[in-house]
Symmetry: C2
Subunit: 146 residues, 2 copies
C-alpha cells in the first residue's frame, strides 16, 4: 500500500513541477490546491528537502522549488523516500535486502521469486516515470482516456 504520506509527496512534487521556470511555491498554497493537511505537508516537504529533492527559502515570499530538473526526478525515488522499498517483502528488495528468518532455502522459495517479479515490474514502472512525463501525461489525459 502507498501511504498517504507518499501520495501527498507525489502531489506536492507534481505541483512544484508545474511551476513556470522554477518559481517558488509555498506550503500553504500546495496544501490548498492539492487538498492536503497543511502541517502534515510541511513534514513531508521537510523530508523531501533533507533528501535533496526540493530547495526551500524562508521568510516573506519564501517557499519551495524542485532541487533538480523535473525530468531527473522519478516516482520511484519519491515513493522510496516516503515508504521505503518497493518490494512487497524485504527478502525481495534490491535496495534494502533483508533475509527472511523463517525461510529455510531462499533460492528455492517460490514466494520470494514471485515477489521479486512484482518488485521488478513496479520498479520498472516507477523508476521509469519522471515528474516531467507525468506532468505532460496529465495534460493529454482528457483526450487519451475515455
Amino acid at each position: 500500500m502507498l501511504s498517504q504520506k507518499a501520495k501527498y509527496a507525489l502531489k506536492a512534487m507534481l505541483a512544484l513541477a508545474n511551476q513556470e521556470n522554477g518559481e517558488l511555491l509555498q506550503a500553504g498554497d500546495i496544501a490548498e490546491q492539492q487538498n492536503v493537511p497543511r502541517k502534515f505537508l510541511e513534514l513531508i516537504l521537510l523530508e523531501l528537502r533533507k533528501q535533496g529533492l526540493v530547495h526551500s527559502h524562508r521568510g516573506k515570499h519564501g517557499g519551495y522549488t524542485l532541487a533538480k530538473p523535473a525530468d531527473t526526478i522519478t516516482f520511484g525515488q519519491i515513493v522510496r523516500i516516503m515508504d521505503g522499498p518497493l518490494a512487497p517483502i524485504p527478502c525481495a528488495s534490491l535496495t534494502r535486502y533483508r533475509r527472511c528468518v523463517d525461510c529455510a532455502d531462499e533460492k528455492a522459495c517460490a514466494i520470494r521469486r514471485a515477489m521479486r517479479q512484482v518488485r521488478d515490474s513496479a520498479a520498472e514502472i516507477l523508476d521509469g516515470l519522471t515528474l516531467e512525463q507525468a506532468r505532460r501525461g496529465a495534460a493529454h489525459a482528457e483526450s487519451l482516456t475515455t
Copy 2:
C-alpha cells in the same frame, strides 16, 4: 507490503499443494515444517477455509487439504484474501475501487495512472501464478538459479 499473514498463507498453501494426492496435513505439522507460529496459522487456515480454498477434517487424524486442484489456485487469490486489493491505492483497484476524496480530477491524475500500471503488472504476475506452477518451479530452482 505483504503482511506476515499473507506470507504464511502462501507457505501453508504450498505445503498443502506438495501433499501426494490430497493427503491431509495437520496445522501443527505445517507450522513446524514452515516455521510459522501455530496458533496464528490456525487463524489463517480458518480464513482460507471460509473462503473455500481449503477443506478441513476434525478429530483424530484430522487436518487440511486443498479444496481445489493446485493448478486452479493462484497467488493472487490468496494474497487478496489476506491483504485485500493488490493496488497500491484504492482508486487504482479493480476489485475494490474507492474514490480518492482529495482528488479533484481522477481522469487526469498522474498518480492514479501510475498506480494503475503497478496494479496491473502485479495482478498479471500473481494471478498468473498457480500453486502448481510454483511447486514445480521450486523443484527446478536449484538448477536454474545460480
